[in-house]
Structure formats: structure tokens, C-alpha cells
Amino acid sequence: MQKRAIFGGKTLPYLLLLPQLFVVGVFFYWPASQAVWQSFLLEDAFGLNTSFVWFENYKELFADAGYYRTMLTTGVFAIMVAGLSLSLALLLAVQADKSIHGAGVYKTLLIWPYAVAPAVAGVLWIFMFQPSLGVIAHAMRNFGIDWNPLLNGNDALLLVVMASTWKQISYNFLFFLAGLQSIPRAVIEAAAIDGASRTRRFWTIILPLLSPTVFFLVVVNIVYVFFDTFGIIDAMTQGGPSKATETLVYKVFFDGRLGGNLGSSAAQSVILMVMVVALTAVQFRFIERKVAY
């Protein structure tokens, strides 16, 4: 089969590319360049006067202790969610990969949370843990556990971590299961005959063979925590109490939309953009190198 199309001139191929380029340009490059441009501007409090201030917004941002605090929160949040959701999903996938009765039902049920919208997931969890009306909050109070995500910052962070983890496990589970199923049975059997115990087989054979999947998921999970948890945070804590659950993305929204500081907000989104581009680049480099066994 011939995969290369041959065109007579240069007009037609460019013409055919145009719709795609148009979409990418309008929906990605234009807003992105707008953000970069905005990040160099400073608006006065009434929105009457805009002046070009070069890197003033960035300087201000990096001088702000609050920004570093948000970075730290995001980092902790990302490590916890990625770590928890990856390890739990792997555990579940390893169990599901065994030939068990009702494996199909089990798998289907595990995939469901992924279909729940982030905001809905947030609302579900806050309902359960809301100190005044949540079922679980009520039960915990009866056991004498003092846990209040509305007042205690760490409690709030933990709640957001749980909700985000719960939501992401399905996705990770799917990839882990697919990864596990692509490992030839005979290889595992050979290892069993070679005297490797179940645990040793997992650490020396299964996990190394799964490492491309793990790596891919680590990157995807970090991106997820950075961006897609916005809905959960907005529905559950709005970044509070006292910014304990404020992630970088939530701060962009908070400063720009609610705080009206468009310049700083734009600068923050540019920084985020750079982070994601870096992550994606790393992922592409490694995936190309490591995936082909």
C-alpha cells in the first residue's frame, strides 16, 4: 500500500492543510499568544488604562510568597494523587488480571468513575464529607474523629486528594490492565518455573515490562492533577480554607476572574503552559525510546 500521496503543485496540499491549521491557530495559538501578550501588560484598578510593563508581572509573581505556597500545594497534591491513584489502580488491575469469576462485571464497575464529570465527583464527595450533613462525616464524628474540611486546611487537601484519586483510578486501571494483558502468559509461567515467587515475579518481570505504561501514566496523571482537578476543587473547596487547596490552575482562575488581575493571571498561565510543554516533550522523548520491547 502506498502511504505517500503525490501532488502536482504546492497549492493543493497547503489548501488541504488549511482547515486543520485554522482550527489549531484559532483555538490554540491565538489564545496562547494573547496570554503571552497579556502577561506583559498592567491594567489599572478601573480597567481604564493599560500599560506595557515587560516582565513586571513575572517579577512580582516570583517575589510573592503566596505563589510559592501554591506551587508547593500543587506539588504535594500532584505527588499524592499520582502516587495513590497509580498504586491503587495497579493493585486493582493485577487482581482483575487473574482469572476470576465475574471479571467482566468487576472491570466494568471499575471503569465507571471515569465517566463522572469532575464537578459532579466533587459534589458527591463533599456531600459525603460535609461536616453538617455528610453521611461519612456524621459517622466519623460518632467515632470521635475530628475531621473538618471546611475549617482545617490539611483535612480539605486530603479530601480533594481522595476525590481526585478516586476519579483517576479508572483511567489508570484501564491502561494497567491493557498493559498486563499484553505481557505473554508464557513469560510469567517461565518465571514461575524459574523459581520466582509471586511477589518476586511482580517486581522483576511484570513491573519492568509495565514500565512504559507506568511512565506514560505518571505524565498523564501529573497533567491531570495540574489541570483537570479544577472542577473538583471548584466544587468542593474553592481553593480554601485560606488557600490550602489552591493549585496553580485554580490560582489562575482566582486571580484573573475573581481578583481581576489579568496581567498576573496571564503570566501564571504562561508559566503553566511552559511546564506542560516540558512535560509533554519529556514524555515523547521517553516513550519513543522505551516503549518498544
Binding site: P184, V187, A190, A192, I193, D194
Partner: protein
């Protein structure tokens, strides 16, 4: 090294699928036993039960003096070579071979020594640092065998190890396995559907069909004295000619092509039987004696020539040496050595040999 003894082994899968039904078999110490049969006959299942990769529904499996039914594969002191090699893709050739020894806590110097020895034996010393994906099919199969050898197990199990190789390489590897066995003299059980592999490698061939053993014997034995119609038609290429017959008088059987004498000392038969004659046991005769035969089609194989035609009303194949005479569309006469006529029970398919 040890013998393997299977007694009344059965394997029933969920849904009442009987993969292996009542198999008893002894593999003597140092023997090279080949399980031969068509796909789905239960030979691989049987091997996997010996390895401990499948549970045994009923019966006992003994390796040496030990009943291993409930013993983990790792503890059975066996090594297995798989059809698709089953090498660990993320490990170097050296690590692939060393893995089993490492798991058992063998000292490093000992591992090194054994891996080097096995590598030398299999001529893969130059590839020890490579990953399996950088090797050819034949080299991978060698590594898989090396992985088995370094363990110095009681029993070697081979699950169709040559069927993923191309025809030429298969012949080479077959010879190498044979040579290796002659040298190590380890008890080996080899599963294959290829009768040539079975005949050339085995000192004991176990022919299986539909979960049962049809015949156990030396390669020459199963060829010369097939115990059933199935063995007769499965072993030998081209397959044995089979036709209905009726014993009218002592020592002679009535076939569609005419009367054929048989060795009455070997067979005790009467009434309706199934007659089997190997293509290579049929001779062409010039005289007026014998059954008239016209070759409708001739296949030239170089050393031999296959004549296709009708023996009375039954289509048969005759294999003759490819000498000068052309037989196509020419009437000839065929004779059969009475000693080469096999008789089988028409209903059970068992040989009627005494």
C-alpha cells in the same frame, strides 16, 4: 535426573471439557519421550500438568520418587522450553539464563560458571549482553534452551519448541537438541505435532488422540506395528492407505482391489476388517500377477514418485523409487508383501495383531 510417572491422569476444564482422559505413562530416567498428536489432542495440557502450570483433575504425577500433584512448578525441579521462547524481554541473554539460579540463591561465581558453560555449549557466547529482541529466532530458541540447561533440572520439558522456526532452521535445531540430549542425557519430554520431529528425536514415542494415548513405543515400532488405525494414518507420509476388507479364508483378505494374503501369524482376524497398506510397501510387478492399477496422477518427489490411482474402488497412493519407468496412464500390476498388510478392527480401530 529422574523418571516421570503418570498414573490415570485426567484433566477436565470448566464446562466439562475433557482435555486429557485417563493417561498412564512412564518416562524412564534419561529417556527422550515425545508426545505426538494432532492439535487439541491434549499433549500440551499433559506437559503443562507435569510442569505444574495446570492443575491435575485426578490421577498422580510422580517425578522421581515424589508425587508432585500439589507442588509448585518452581519446586518440581523441571525446566521448560516454550514455543514462543518466553524470554524475559527486558533482560540481557545473560540475565535471562541467570534468573532461575538467582531466584534460588546460587552464588554469583557459580551462576557465572554455569551460564558461560551453557552459552559455550549452545554457541551463544557472543550474544550474552544482548537483549532478546536483537536476536534471530534460532538464537532466541538457543537462549531458551540455555536457560533450561543452566538450572540442571531433573526433567526437561519442551512445548513445541521448533514450530516457530522456519523449515531449514527447524532441521538444524532438531539435530542440536538431539546432540544435546546425547550429551547431557537428561530426561526429556517433548511435545510436537510433527511426526518427523517425533521419529528423529524420540527413543519413546507417545501417540495421543482426543485426550488418550493411542500407542507408546519406539519410533520404529509405532511405524511398523501401529496399534490403531489412528496411529497408522498419523505416522508416515504419505499416510497409510486404508480400505475395507473381509476375511474369506485363512491368511487372505478380500479388498476392493482383489484378494491380498496377510501374515496369519501376526493377526487373528475374521469377518469385516479395515485393511492398511503403506504406500511404500506396495510394489509394481511386470508379470500377470497382482492387482491391476492405473496411475491417474504422478507426483514427482525426486527420490520417490507417488502414484495416485484406484485400487479397485478405493483411491490409494503408491510410492515407488523414481527410476526410469513412467507409469502415468499406464496399466500396471501391484503386489503387496503379506508381511506389510495391517489389519484393524472396523469399529474400534484397534489393531488386530495378536
Amino acid at each position: 535426573m529422574a523418571s516421570v510417572e503418570l498414573t490415570n491422569i485426567k484433566k477436565v476444564y470448566p464446562g466439562n471439557v475433557e482435555a486429557v482422559r485417563d493417561v498412564s505413562l512412564t518416562v524412564p530416567n534419561g529417556s527422550f519421550t515425545v508426545l505426538l498428536g494432532p492439535s487439541g489432542c491434549g499433549k500440551s495440557t499433559l506437559l503443562r500438568m507435569i510442569a505444574g502450570l495446570e492443575t491435575i483433575t485426578s490421577g498422580t504425577c510422580k517425578i522421581g520418587e515424589r508425587v508432585v500433584n500439589e507442588i509448585e512448578p518452581a519446586e518440581r525441579d523441571i525446566a521448560m522450553v516454550f514455543q514462543n521462547y518466553a524470554l524475559y524481554p527486558h533482560m540481557s541473554v545473560y540475565d535471562n539464563m541467570a534468573y532461575g539460579l538467582k531466584n534460588r540463591g546460587t552464588p554469583k561465581s557459580e551462576i557465572e560458571k554455569r551460564v558461560r558453560e551453557a552459552a559455550a555449549l549452545l554457541a551463544i557466547e557472543d550474544y550474552l549482553t544482548r537483549k532478546p529482541r536483537a536476536l534471530s529466532g534460532g538464537q532466541r530458541q538457543r537462549v531458551a534452551m540455555g536457560r533450561a540447561i543452566v538450572r540442571e533440572p531433573q526433567v526437561f520439558l519442551f512445548d513445541e519448541p521448533l514450530s516457530n522456526l522456519d523449515a531449514k532452521l527447524r532441521v538444524t535445531m532438531r539435530l542440536e537438541i538431539k546432540r544435546l540430549h546425547n550429551r547431557l542425557n537428561a530426561t526429556s519430554i517433548f511435545v510436537t505435532h510433527d511426526q518427523v520431529e517425533a521419529m528423529t528425536l524420540a527413543d519413546q514415542v507417545v501417540v495421543m488422540n482426543a485426550g488418550k494415548i493411542e500407542q507408546i513405543g519406539a519410533p520404529g515400532e509405532v511405524y511398523k506395528h501401529p496399534a490403531s488405525r489412528f496411529v497408522a494414518s498419523f505416522i508416515g507420509a504419505p499416510a497409510m492407505n486404508l480400505m475395507p476388507g473381509r476375511i474369506a479364508e485363512a491368511g487372505s483378505v478380500e479388498t476392493p482391489g482383489g484378494k491380498l494374503p496377510f501374515d496369519a501369524k501376526r493377526f487373528s482376524a475374521s469377518g469385516e476388517v479395515e485393511v492398511g497398506i503403506r504406500p511404500e510397501d506396495i510394489r509394481t510387478a511386470d508379470g500377470a500377477n497382482g492387482v491391476p492399477f492405473k496411475a491417474e496422477l504422478v507426483e514427482e518427489l525426486g527420490a520417490t514418485r507417488l502414484l495416485h490411482g484406484n485400487f479397485g474402488t478405493t483411491p490409494i497412493i503408491v510410492a515407488i523409487p523414481a527410476s526410469g519407468t513412467q507409469y502415468e496412464s499406464k496399466e500396471v500390476r501391484l503386489t503387496v508383501d503379506p508381511a506389510a498388510v495391517h489389519l484393524f478392527d472396523r469399529t474400534t480401530g484397534r489393531s488386530l495383531a495378536r
